[in-house]
Symmetry: C2
DNA sequence: ATAATGCCTATAAATTCTATAGACATTACA
DNA sequence: TGTAATGTCTATAGAATTTATAGGCATTAT
C-alpha cells in the first residue's frame, strides 16, 4: 500500500505537468488546488526536487516546475523518492539495505529468493509507467465517457 | 515493504511444511525454533487458520499443521491474510475498498488507472509463487553451494 | 480430574506516518 | 537599498499502525 505522501506527490506532479512550462507554481497555490496540507506538500516537493524531478525558484516570482518532461518521469522514480524504496523486504533493497535480524544465511533464504521475483516484477511495472501515462489514461477515460454522452445526445 | 508479521508467517509456514504430516507443532516450539515472540505468533497462526491455511488441534497433543499441501498455498494468499490486501491503493482493493477522500471522479483518476496495472502485476506474481517454491528455491541454492564445496574437495 | 494446549479480549510499547510551527535564505523589483 | 515574496531547513507534535505482552477461558487426551 503506497502512502498518502506518495499520492500527494502524484497529484502535485500531475498538476505541474498540466501547467505551461517556464511558469512556476507556488506551493501555496498547489496545496490549495490539490487539497494537500501546505507544510506537508512543502516537504514532498523538496524531496522531489532533491530527487531531480523538479526545479524550484526562490523569491518573488518563484515556485516549482517539472525538471524533466512528464514522459521521462517514471512512476518508479517517484515512489523511490517518497517511499525510500520499492523492495518488498529490506534485505533486497539497494538504496536502503538491511540484513534480516536473524537470517542464518541470506544466500539460501527462501523468503528472500522468492521476494526477489516480486521485486523484479514490481520494479519492471513501476519503471515502465510514467507521469505522462497517468495523464494520458485519465484523458482517455474522460474522452470515452464524453463520447458516450455525445452519442446519447 | 511487507511487515514483520508476514515474514513471521512465512517462517512459520515453512517450518510447518517441513514437519511430517499429522504431527502437529506447538506454538511454543515454533516460536522458539523460529525466534518469533510467542504471543505474536499465536495471533499470526490464528489468522492463518481462519484463512484456511492451517489446521489446529486444541488440548493435550494439540498444535498446528498445514491444512493444504505447500504447493497449493500461494504467497499471495499468505500476504492477503496477514496484510489484509495486496492493492497499492485502497480504492483498488476488493476486500478492503475505500474511496479516496477527495477523488473527484474515480473512473477517470489517472493514479488509480495506473495503479491498476501495478495491482495486476503484483497479484500475478504473488499468486503464482507458492510456499513450496520458497522451500524448493532455498534447497536448490543450498545444493548449488554444497556442490561447489564438493567440487573444491 | 487434571494437565496440556489453543482461543480470545484487552492493552501497552514502539515505530512510522502525517502534519504543523517558525526562523532563515534568496530573489525580484520598486 | 529596502522590502515583500518566496522556497529551505530544523524541530517537534499528533495520529495511526505495527509489534508485542498479559491473563483468563475453552477444549481435549489421558
Amino acid at each position: 500500500m503506497i502512502s498518502k505522501k506518495t499520492i500527494y506527490a502524484f497529484k502535485a506532479l500531475i498538476h505541474l505537468a498540466g501547467t505551461p512550462a517556464g511558469q512556476p507554481v507556488l506551493i501555496a497555490d498547489l496545496a490549495k488546488a490539490e487539497n494537500i496540507p501546505k507544510k506537508f506538500l512543502e516537504f514532498i516537493l523538496l524531496s522531489l526536487r532533491k530527487g531531480g524531478l523538479l526545479l524550484s525558484r526562490i523569491g518573488k516570482g518563484g515556485g516549482y516546475s517539472l525538471a524533466v518532461p512528464a514522459a521521462r518521469i517514471s512512476v518508479g522514480a517517484i515512489v523511490r523518492i517518497l517511499e525510500g524504496d520499492i523492495a518488498p523486504v529490506q534485505c533486497l533493497s539497494t538504496t536502503n539495505y538491511a540484513r534480516c535480524e536473524e537470517c542464518q544465511d541470506e544466500a539460501t533464504c527462501g523468503i528472500r529468493l522468492t521476494m526477489a521475483d516480486v521485486n523484479v516484477a514490481l520494479a519492471t511495472v513501476l519503471d515502465n509507467l510514467t507521469l505522462a501515462d497517468m495523464i494520458e489514461r485519465s484523458d482517455a477515460e474522460r474522452n470515452k465517457i464524453q463520447n458516450v454522452v455525445d452519442y446519447n445526445i
